[in-house]
């Protein structure tokens, strides 16, 4: 019997799990996929928004501003790189400048720090590759970037270190409510708890329906994103935005934690919650949108692409206790800026659980800090030399494009990577310009050795995505 079960190990669920792990509670996190962060939280822009561009009075607006502050603090504790890049929202006409002033005033009401207008002279000095048609920009210095999956992994691992049980490959199929007890039936067995938190992302409406609350629908909005070669790392210094429309922030020129610039995302409503296809249409839209901001970008610079689905349920987040089902909390419709808001959502949800009767007694020893994972690509040669002398396996390079060693891959596996994608997200092995042509076989072998599974059971991202069909030597 758990005190709290959380459904969904995306950024929302893992942030809540970590927050709850401060207290003397039995907490369980259930996830249908093979690893955490395999839902919406793996395919987004990775921006920690400053809090501009959200309607004042909305939940999104408030939690985004708080989330920006909390993300920095927790990222420092967990040793995850957060980089403050600042963002620029560009105006191409007098009318747009007027809109920027409105945005600035809204941001100031929301207490977004340091927001100010900058002129063409400032822009030509600080952002030389921008279009010459830009007349002015709104500068928000507190915008930043983070690796979304490494962020989720560290939140999850810290929660695990503090006693949370994480059950992956556990698809929630049915929930029964009896007295003050939830029985959650999953593909890996049954779990019981006194409180239940629904963070199931795109499927939060299905989960909510299972307990009898059926008053919202998740409508996915697809975003296609295109990653550029790392050689263009210094294309821009800031995150570059056009003026937002009512529904989206538009096509951006993004900096990422891995160094590659990225352009996108599109915004297109789709029916199918598993539709992660990219299209020619999306590519054309994104290229045109990005070139309007930074004309030097060309289609040739693209080395990879993906799509993500924003789990939208109306205009705002839905975060509430359900009076009809005491002990049940919905955390649904976590669209953008959900990545930013997650730590603030977590605090809010813990508050809601308390108001529902959950007793919060702080542990004497909460492990809030983690040591930073080592990546050869992020240290200099003299640091690398020392590391390799201490542990020779750091000198055993597996991925040639991104310089990832066998030791880093083994560490990723010991921290929870179970699939090739899991290794890729944690280490960047297979994420470079050759797309794994060189390192896939070696990464498969290490995974098979460390997890003690046959090579035919090594998958890209879980059951059904096996890499090879047959092993001649072990038939």
């Amino acid at each position: 019997m758990f005190d709290v079960i959380i459904i969904g190990a995306g950024v929302t669920g893992t942030a809540i799990a970590r927050e709850l792990s401060r207290y003397k509670l039995k907490v369980c996190l259930l996830e249908k996929e093979e690893e955490s962060a395999f839902g919406v939280s793996k395919s987004n822009s990775g921006i920690i928004h400053p809090g501009t561009q959200n309607p004042p009075g909305s939940l999104k607006a408030k939690l985004c501003v708080q989330g920006n502050v909390l993300t920095r603090k927790i990222a420092r504790e967990l040793g995850v790189d957060f980089k403050e890049t600042g963002e620029l929202i560009l105006a191409f006409s007098e009318e747009e400048i007027f809109r920027l002033h409105q945005l600035r005033d809204e941001a100031q009401t929301l207490k977004v720090p340091g927001v100010r207008m900058v002129d063409q002279i400032w822009l030509s000095q600080n952002e030389p590759n921008l279009s010459r048609n830009v007349l002015a920009a709104l500068y928000a210095p507190t915008a930043g970037i983070i690796s979304p999956y490494r962020w989720v992994y560290d939140l999850a691992e810290d929660a695990l270190d503090n006693g949370v049980e994480i059950r992956t490959k556990s698809l929630v199929e049915n929930i029964t409510v009896g007295g003050r007890e939830f029985t959650v039936a999953t593909s890996s067995g049954e779990y019981k708890s006194r409180f239940l938190v629904n963070c199931a992302g795109l499927f939060a409406d299905d989960i909510s329906r299972m307990v009898g609350v059926d008053d919202f629908r998740i409508r996915p909005v697809k975003g296609e994103e295109f990653i550029l070669d790392k050689k263009l790392e210094n294309l821009t210094r800031h995150l570059i935005f056009p003026l937002p429309t009512k529904t989206t922030k538009g096509i951006l020129v993004i900096k990422t934690a891995d160094g590659n610039p990225m352009i996108g995302p599109t915004a297109q409503e789709v029916e199918d919650k598993t539709d992660l296809t990219t299209s020619n249409d999306g590519l054309q839209k994104v290229l045109a949108g990005a070139q309007k901001l930074v004309p030097g970008i060309s289609g040739k610079d693209i080395i990879a692409y993906f799509a993500g689905l924003r789990p939208k349920a109306g205009d705002d987040f839905i975060i509430r206790r359900e009076e009809k089902v005491p002990g049940f909390v919905n955390v649904a419709g976590i669209q953008s800026p959900g990545l930013t808001a997650a730590p603030a959502i977590a605090l809010m949800v813990v508050g809601i659980l308390k108001s529902c009767g959950l007793t919060l007694k702080e542990k004497l020893f909460f492990r809030s800090h983690r040591s930073k994972t080592t990546h050869l690509f992020s240290i200099n040669f003299s640091q690398a030399r020392k590391l390799i002398q201490e542990n020779p396996a750091y000198g055993d390079i597996v991925c040639r494009c991104e310089m990832v060693s066998a030791q880093e891959i083994r560490e990723a596996i010991s921290r929870g990577a179970k699939t090739l994608d899991g290794i890729k997200f944690r280490t960047r092995c297979q994420a470079g310009r050759c797309h794994g042509s060189f390192c896939t076989t070696r990464a498969m072998k290490i995974l098979s050795e460390e997890r003690n599974i046959p090579l035919t059971e090594v998958t890209k991202r879980g059951i059904g995505s096996e890499i090879v069909k047959k092993d001649r030597d072990h038939d």
């Binding site: 598993t274 992660l276 296809t277 990219t278 299209s279 020619n280 590519l283 289609g299 693209i302 080395i303 990879a304 692409y305 993906f306 040669f381 690398a384 030399r385 390799i388 002398q389 020779p392 396996a393 000198g395 055993d396 390079i397 040639r400 310089m403 060693s405 310009r433 050759c434 797309h435 794994g436 042509s437 060189f438 896939t440 076989t441 090579l455 035919t456 998958t459 890209k460 991202r461 879980g462 059951i463 059904g464 995505s465 096996e466 890499i467 090879v468 069909k469 047959k470 092993d471 001649r472 030597d473």
Partner: protein, 319 residues
């Protein structure tokens, strides 16, 4: 290896070969099919046999030192290399440097195929490595994208392994590969080949399930109504090779934006004196014998450069 041997024959005494793999021979090791050495050795050899000829000669020469599992990670304009190997990170400075780093395959991402991104999409070279070196069969129903030599050779390989090759789909009007490979690897096995066609979408969430193929007209535009689908669990990408020259680029040598080959006056040269490039990293060659000939010339060129340098610096020591 050919460059090292030729440099040695032309008087260079002190030679170091750095190789990231645990064997010498490079891509030859995974080319277990025959067809190598027709011109150079006047014999029909497999890739590994071809490599072995050179390895034996290298081993017999004490002046050529070989360091395996040695991964070069940086190069500066003064020809200082930084490399990693298990337990070590070191630098070494060369008077003359020959880069023979080979090439890499273009990826699905570079040809922008829309659709999903499941397991089952391989570069043809990766599939070759999985089958020939690791003994692993990537899939049972295959579509080959592009008609490069490796793709054609792999169409035959998959067929011999008992898999069904559904088609080879080539966007251009003719094959990119050698005529003999087109005949011996595709036509002889009755594998359908579609010229002027492209893959317009990939389907399948976890693993490839099928692809959409369509005919292309002028400027590679889709011909409406020409689409059809092919079931498959595996997609092999064989759409060309790119010389691997990121290291010389790091050192400041100029590269051709389109081909990724070095730009300089003269074959095998770069814009940095004493820095030479040969084999597939200079330019993608069809057959290994051309690589060998090119590399022998390059080794000689490096030897001549050193002689000239020694002439200039006479009296400053001989190495």
């Amino acid at each position: 290896m050919a460059a090292a041997l030729s440099a040695q024959e032309n008087g260079v005494e002190d030679i170091l070969i750095l190789e990231r793999d645990q064997f010498l021979g490079g891509i030859l090791n995974q080319c277990v099919h025959t067809g190598f050495g027709l011109e150079y050795f006047k014999e029909v050899l497999t890739g590994p046999e071809y490599a072995e000829r050179f390895i034996e000669r290298i081993k017999a020469i004490p002046g050529i030192e070989v360091s395996l599992k040695t991964f070069v990670v940086s190069l500066s304009a003064d020809k200082t290399l930084t490399f990693l190997k298990p337990g070590k990170l070191e630098t070494v400075k060369a008077k003359a440097l020959v880069m023979a780093t080979g090439c890499r395959e273009k990826t699905r991402e570079m040809v922008h195929i829309p659709g999903t991104r499941p397991a089952g999409i391989f570069s043809a070279g990766l599939a070759q490595k999985l089958i020939n070196i690791e003994g692993l069969l990537p899939g049972n129903k295959v579509v080959v994208v592009g008609s490069g030599d490796i793709g054609l050779i792999m169409a035959r390989r998959f067929t011999l392994e008992g898999a069904k090759v559904q088609a080879v789909v080539e966007i251009q009007g003719t094959s990119r590969g050698l005529m003999r490979n087109l005949v011996q690897c595709v036509q002889d096995f009755d594998i359908p080949i579609y010229f002027n066609h492209k893959i317009s979408a990939i389907f399948g969430r976890d693993r490839v399930e099928k692809v959409k193929v369509c005919k292309v007209g002028q400027n590679y535009c889709d011909v409406p109504g020409s689409e059809f689908e092919l079931e498959c669990d595996t997609l092999l990408i064989s759409v060309g090779l790119i010389p691997e020259n990121e290291l010389i680029e790091m050192a400041g040598a100029q590269l051709d934006q389109k081909t990724n080959s070095p730009v300089a006056e003269g074959v095998n040269k770069t814009s940095i004196p004493g820095l030479f490039v040969c084999g597939n990293s200079y330019k993608v060659y069809d057959i290994a014998d051309s690589v060998t000939r090119d590399s022998e010339l390059c080794g000689k060129m490096a030897a001549e450069y050193l002689k000239e340098l020694a002439g200039k610096n006479r009296g400053f020591g001989k190495k």
